[in-house]
């Protein structure tokens, strides 16, 4: 796990793949939290 990570270089943006995955996961979690109804709710989103 100590070998340097791969990086995405897009214009002046340079981001590690682990960081990119983490940020992507956060956005997905936020979206899921908005759209997924709580258990027990009868009406769907």
């Amino acid at each position: 796990m100590d070998t340097p990570a791969a990086y995405l270089h897009w214009g002046f943006i340079l981001i590690s793949i682990p960081n990119l995955l983490l940020i992507g996961l956060m956005i997905v979690l936020f979206a899921l939290a908005l759209f997924i109804p709580l258990p027990g709710e009868k009406e769907k989103a």
Binding site: L25, L29, A33, L34, I36, L38, E41
Partner: protein, 222 residues
């Protein structure tokens, strides 16, 4: 409901500091509000989970940190158990920041500062800022290559502001002490204040709904 203010022998309210503090507290934050078992029905979204998840991650960060502090700085490099607790601490911190930022996004888009709740928001931002410093001093305390590089890199920004003269990131002892004693106390105290403020004001209600059939008029988000 039981009376929360016990009157004196001739019915008067207590004039002492203690009595007045107790009465004020009982009025502003009765037990029913501090530990409620009901909530407004609009509190029905997974978004509300990120706050308590942040607290859970903070508790794990502190607990794993306490074990690391008890065992001392060498331990997490030289023993398997030490490395494991180092890992618990590392991932707790990652989760803490993930959930805290998600909580911040949620509260921003809900404009949760409305209705006199600006202090809650501001305490939250201060916690965020202090947490960044706590993580920073934590990285400096690892005593590995990353600590060395972070120290020699960060010194320039701190020296440019003059703070570097007093807050020496190259001084392990200073950074470690700040990290294990000063900042956890600050964060825990502020989180407690943050939670009390939420309970004091109640969960923020939804942004005002427009009556059906009317043209939307610009309204301050209050």
């Amino acid at each position: 409901m039981r009376p929360t203010v016990i009157a004196g022998p001739t019915g008067e309210r207590s004039r002492s500091w203690t009595g007045r503090a107790r009465a004020g507290l009982a009025e502003k934050l009765p037990m029913e509000n501090l530990l409620p078992d009901r909530q407004p029905y609009y509190v029905g979204s997974w978004i509300y989970v990120f706050g308590v998840a942040t607290i859970a991650a903070l508790v794990l960060t502190v607990l794993s940190g306490v074990i690391l502090a008890i065992a001392g700085p060498e331990w997490w490099h030289i023993s398997v158990a030490g490395r494991f607790f180092n890992s618990l601490h590392f991932w707790s911190v990652q989760l803490f920041f993930v959930f805290m930022v998600l909580h911040l996004w949620g509260q921003y888009f809900m404009a949760s500062w409305r209705g006199g709740r600006a202090p809650t928001w501001m305490i939250g931002v201060v916690i965020f800022a202090i947490s960044i410093v706590a993580a920073f001093t934590g990285y400096l305390s690892q005593q590995n290559f990353a600590s060395q590089w972070i120290a020699v890199s960060a010194k320039d920004a701190l020296n440019a502001t003059g703070f570097g003269a007093f807050f020496n990131v190259l001084n392990f002892g200073q950074m470690y002490g700040v990290h294990v004693a000063l900042l956890p106390a600050a964060i825990i105290g502020l989180v407690a204040l943050h939670i009390v403020w939420v309970r004091l004001k109640g969960v923020v209600p939804p942004i005002d709904v427009m009556p059906a059939g009317t043209r939307p008029t610009p309204k301050k988000v209050r």
